[in-house]
Symmetry: C2
Subunit: 194 residues, 2 copies
Amino acid sequence: MTNRATRTPSERIGPDVLTAAREILDDEGPDGFTVRAIAQRANVAPMAIYNHFDGVNGVLEALWIEGFEKFLDALTFETGDSDDDLLRTAVAYRSFALENRGLYTVMFMHRFRGFQPSIAAAQLAAQTYQTLVDSVGRCQQNGLFANTAASDAAQVIWSACHGYVSLELLGINFAADRDATYQLLLTTLRDGFR
Amino acid sequence: MTNRATRTPSERIGPDVLTAAREILDDEGPDGFTVRAIAQRANVAPMAIYNHFDGVNGVLEALWIEGFEKFLDALTFETGDSDDDLLRTAVAYRSFALENRGLYTVMFMHRFRGFQPSIAAAQLAAQTYQTLVDSVGRCQQNGLFANTAASDAAQVIWSACHGYVSLELLGINFAADRDATYQLLLTTLRDGFR
DNA sequence: GACAAGTATAGAACAATGTTCTACAGTTGT
DNA sequence: ACAACTGTAGAACATTGTTCTATACTTGTC
């Protein structure tokens, strides 16, 4: 409910809108993601979304960038034990997706009407992939992934993790124990690459 | 362009609408999927989509069912060599997705506004999964997947295949040789499960 | 403290969408 | 030939993204 008398300070509008947008995606999925709904939840005028972002697509772009920055951070481990780092990365991949359904939906699942990430935003996605490639590369010095290009192994791992969590988010993951089956996925990949 | 003078026979409307809907999804993705666009492409009045289907959601439901029936058929192999059958199934999984982008999008990727498959339609999806579980089960008699429940192994395989092709359809698969990297994914899983 | 500039707001307005309703006219079965 | 069926066009409505305008609140400056 927008309060007619009060007025949100400029510097709060950006964060408030993004938080509201993220919450709506988390709670209702893409269906509830409308200009008016976001503005109402952020306690802000619908116009604010055009003054502070480039409309709905601008909000999506901002969420995309925020998402990949958080994602990159969540996936990065450098403890010195590269095999363990990679395992942690894979586990963190799923945790991030489950804890940030909305962001993950924007980043990897739903095609929002008329939205296409900018070049810079797309590069952020590529950078995240590169992090995974680097992590695989460090493992190669220990003998793991000896017979494959790091980029190919990274693509395989990413695909498997993404597939598992995206089916989970869609509600069509039939595993009895989802944590355990994700572990099975990871150990199967590790053994398969040996 | 709807031709004012002519009138489409009743029995052609259903198939024509579904074909047009599939083509629009293949060509333009979810963005172009509107009642008016479908009707125009099918050379049919917009009203036909309400008389013959339950609106847009009815068309999606029909595509979902059509998709899973074709998918189930494409994935089924029983040559007697169960290990080879499973490999063929996995290869066919990707081929189906690439050749039926629109159907695959409806089935596994995009959340269309207000659409939820019926119970019967959801059971079709579960039945497809069951086919994969059965295929894995037959392999267990040869010693493959000896240490895991067939349903868990099936979930792992499905996840990996889905992840690979959905990233591919989204345009964020970075593999240099996509066919070869899909093969790498499959052999890695096979070796990992041994 | 007062004023001017900046900017958040409400509300109207437009196009595109899903959907419903109605009058009309082509098609088909008897 | 006629009646029942049903596909069609078109208007109409609610909801959506978007733009525009007038108003009024805030803030920086004197």
